[in-house]
Each structure stands twice: as C-alpha cells, then as structure tokens.
Amino acid sequence: MYIEEGSIVVIVDVDQPTLSRYVGTAWTVKNVISFYHPATALIYNQTYGELVIPIRCLEVTPPDDSPLAHNEFVRITKGYARETYHNCRNELVGKTGKVVGYDTRNNYFFIKTTNGDSGWFPIHCLMPLNFKGEKFYYPEQDVVLDGKKVKISKIRGTRFGNGQLLLIDGNWMPSTTVRSLP
C-alpha cells in the first residue's frame, strides 16, 4: 500500500484494543515513517488529534472528485498491460469487489473481491455496480459533442448515481449531452 503525506486514510484494523474506537474513522496522513518496522504513519484527525499507527492498519480513500468512492462495489470488466507500479491479476477479471485502496501516483484502485482476492486496477477496467445511467464513459475516451470529436479528461459520479459528469475542455458536461463514437 502506497501512502504519502496528505492522503486521506481510514483505520480498518488496530493493534491495541484501546484504539478500537477509531476503527472506521477518516484521518489525514501527516508523515510517513517508512524506516520503522512495521512501516508506520503519523496521522491527524481534527477531533481526536494525532496518532501513530502501522500502515497495514490503514486504507487510502480516493479523493472527492474521483469517479469511485471508498467501499464502492465494482465489477472488474477487463485486464490491462503491465504497469510501472502494479501487475494485472487477470484471474480477477469478471469478478465483483469493493474499492479498498487508492494509489495517488497513477490513480489506480485497490479492489478486494468478494472471495478475498485483491488487485490493482485503473478506472477503465472497472464498472460501478450502482450506476443506473444509460452508458458509462471513461477518462481519455473519445466522444462526439455537438458533432465534434472530443476527449474526456475526467469523469465524476452524480449525486444520486443516475448519471455521470464529464470534464471536457475544462467544463463539466452532463453525459447525456455526448454520444459515443460508433
């Protein structure tokens, strides 16, 4: 799990029973002490203050403008070629799981499947299960807007999960205004 300063993390496990009340709460990483064994992070919460905790007890949450939220259920639709930081686990393709981690270096999501396996996947290999719209668009996808071919820079979910907003030429556009290429 890659963690850096400023990441928002959730405590999912604790070593000491006294810290069990913090499980499930969100914290901001202030510092990473990687030379400790086990690797540890100094985290901060406005209500509880500072805490030193092993990194293995933490899960990094995706940022607010990310298309997928922490603990959101997704289906792994396809695999990908080898990437700098992660290898694709092709055996997970077609399975469902939930988002339990995020890599800020390449915006990959750490997916834990229902049968306990886990792997790193980019957004274009995932499909949110609660998406109710007509068509799901991915970043870097070419679409037709007002008769012109444009590229989607970023995507974002809507409030009720019925659709998507697409960042095209610096503007957030509703996905119903674009058409996918034939």
Partner: protein
C-alpha cells in the same frame, strides 16, 4: 460501408431534451430512466457550479475587507487614490451581488430539479406497483404544473431584472455612500447627493476653448504680401532674440 460510418460521426447526436419530451404519461414512464439521469446530472452540475461561485464570492468579500482597511489607512480625503479604491470597491460589490444572485438561481434550480425527480420517481414506482392510471395521471399533471410554474418564474425574473445604471451621477452617489459606510460616517442625505451631482456637472463641463481664427481671415488681415513677410521676419527675430 466505411463512408457511412464516417458520415455517422458527423451526424447531430440524438439527445433527448428534457423540456421537449412528449407530453404523455406513457412516454414519460418509458423515458423515465433518461429523464432521471438528466435531472441528476443537472443537479450535480449546479452543485459544482454553485460551490465554485461561493468560493469566488468568499474571495471577493475578503478583498472588499482589505480595500476598506486600505481606505481607512490611506486617510487622503478626495484624492484620486481614494477615488480609485472606492471605484474598485464598488466594482467588487457589483460582482459580489451578481454572484449572490447566481447562487440563488442555482439553489432554486436544484430545488426544482429535485421536485421533478421525485415526481418522475413517483410515476415509476406507481407503475411498478400496478396502480391505477388515474393516480399516475394526477402525478403527471402535478409534474407538468411544477414545470410550468418554474418556466413562468424564470420568465418573470428575466423581465423584472433591472440593469443597474452606470451613469456618472449614480456612480458618484454610490461612491459617496460607500465612503460614508467605510469610514463610519452618518448616512448620506439628499442634499449632499444633489450637491454631489452639481459638483460633478461642473467638473464634467469642459472650459470653453479659445476661438481660433481661420487661416483665410488671418491672411486677409495682412494688406500686402510685404506686410506678411515683415510679420514673419519679426516672428523669427523674436524667436532668435
């Protein structure tokens, strides 16, 4: 085949527009999914936009405070610097008011979209439960009414919207009021405003320019060519001497 594919790319997208959908309960049930998606997307877009505007508005308010402080520290009554700062403050206030209005509009839009969404969802749910069509019809009528009232509201707002005058006297009055507000002076009275208007008129009326005689008249004033040469010679002498 290939040519057909290329021409398809440049065809206008067949996007169903929310407010031009068929006025039929059957149709709305069929298209409820896309309508819900559109409304949801509008709501989220409005929320993002209003968030951006609110951040901008905070920045403007902070800038206004800074300028007010500068004005107090400057302490140069009726100077150009003070006037410039007052003008800047005035512009910021206008911009801030515009943003506030826009934020209110966004908020109203979100409320209307939420109402519309709930109506559409009602229709869907009732149809799924196999309820009577009369009740669905009633909800559909409510949906149409809410849409109509929204349109009327927007129309009346567009009509009653008054553009703020940018004439000089109004600006001067506003600047005076602003100055009083910043320095904590008593409120501006009508007489003061009138005097400001007169002063502004006086300042704005340019002084009369000296009447310049035409070239023909000047030439006529010299009786002979020799007189003209003498006059030129005198002028050269004056310049050298």
């Amino acid at each position: 085949m290939f040519l057909k594919r290329i021409t398809n790319w440049f065809k206008k997208p067949e996007v169903p527009i929310l407010f031009e959908m068929p006025v039929d309960e059957e149709e709305i049930y069929k298209k409820s999914k896309i309508i819900l998606q559109q409304l949801d997307e509008y709501i989220t877009t409005s929320e993002i936009e209003s968030e951006n505007y609110s951040i901008q508005l905070d920045g403007i308010l902070a800038e206004q405070d800074t300028i007010s402080l500068k004005l107090k520290e400057l302490n140069k009554p009726n100077s150009w610097h003070e006037r410039n700062l007052l003008l800047k403050l005035d512009r910021l206030m206008v911009h801030g008011n515009n943003l506030r209005q826009r934020l209110e509009l966004f908020s109203q839009n979100i409320k209307v979209y939420l109402n519309l969404m709930s109506k559409v969802e009602d229709i869907r749910v009732m149809r799924l439960n196999g309820l009577e069509t009369d009740r669905i019809q009633n909800i559909w009528l409510e949906f149409q009414n809410s849409l109509e009232t929204y349109k009327e509201k927007i129309a009346t707002e567009a009509v009653t919207e008054t553009k703020e005058s940018v004439t000089s006297s109004v600006t001067e009055e506003r600047l005076l009021k602003l100055r009083h507000q910043v320095f904590g002076l008593p409120e501006v009275e009508k007489e003061d405003l009138e005097s400001v208007g007169e002063l502004e008129k006086q300042l704005r009326t340019p002084p009369p320019l000296p009447v310049r005689p035409s070239l023909e008249k000047v030439l006529d004033s010299f009786e002979t060519d020799e007189d003209l040469l003498d006059d030129n010679w005198n002028a050269v002498k004056q310049f050298e001497g």
